[in-house]
Amino acid sequence: MRQKNAGQSFRQGLIDGVPIALGYISVSFGFGILCVKGGFSALTAVLISLTNVTSAGQLAGLGIMLAVGTLMEIIVTEFVINMRYALMSISLTQKLDSSFTTPRRMFCAFAMTDEIFAVASSREGKIGAKYFYGLMLLPVAGWVAGTALGALAGGILPESITNAMGIALYGMFLAIILPPATKSRAVAICVVLAAALSIVLNVVPLFSAISSGFSIVICAVIASAFVSWRFPVADEEGGEA
């Protein structure tokens, strides 16, 4: 598979995007269902997926919309949850070839997800804009199509199935955070600490006034800051989030 110039070819990008797209369809299906269950239209669900293309941010955003949160809350929450994309974007700029003009960068950045970043950055050598177009096409299409299917089928499928599908996104999150946690003690501590704080904020009555969005922000900032202080990453590790 790893032929020369593979990082330049649209076709190779498409191929690399297939497994990501398959994963996205099933996960965004769950998001579509959650939206409709929350009382939003299928069109709203599709618009959110088309304009955001991010699981964690959309799920948190949906929670804030359901709770009729403030504009400031949704902006701060999305900022913190999606902050990782800034690091990924910075990291990937080091691998772009000269075909990445400024307008092309502005276009491709739209599809900077955890999985697309992971695949693009694991390619040997430089990557070209055509490769990135191929890589982003199927996952973005799958993300939007899965949302539409979930939102539409959510009303047709029996509740026993749609209820079960509500867990899909969370399952994917576990698949992202647990494998690295088994390899790095620092990541494991970070994951456990964030989860513990999250339980405290959600269970202790004293904190019940804190909304779900800010709760995630507070937990993530405290856990990340603590681990960064105790276990700062080495130079090479910094871009591999």
Partner: protein, 100 residues
Amino acid sequence: MPVWVYILAMALVTYLIRMLPFTLFRKKIKSRFIRSFLYYVPYAVLSAMTIPGIFSSTGNTITAAVGFVVAAVLALFKRSLLTVAVAACAAAYIAGLFVG
């Protein structure tokens, strides 16, 4: 506040965070703390979102707990995102046949 305002705000913030560094950034972040912080943030965010949220994701704590255990075990065995997500749904569904 209308729904489209929420969507627009989410979309704008999400896009700008991705686009501005991708388009403008050419140098490396010098602060080791900030680099570390950015490295750990995704794990912390996803963890805080999953716990305890996952336990109310299926409308029944028991079916969700079964889905959680299955997902966690498969994730620890490094199964793909797709496998883990689908298996969690299947486990929650099957558990629902018994407790639902």
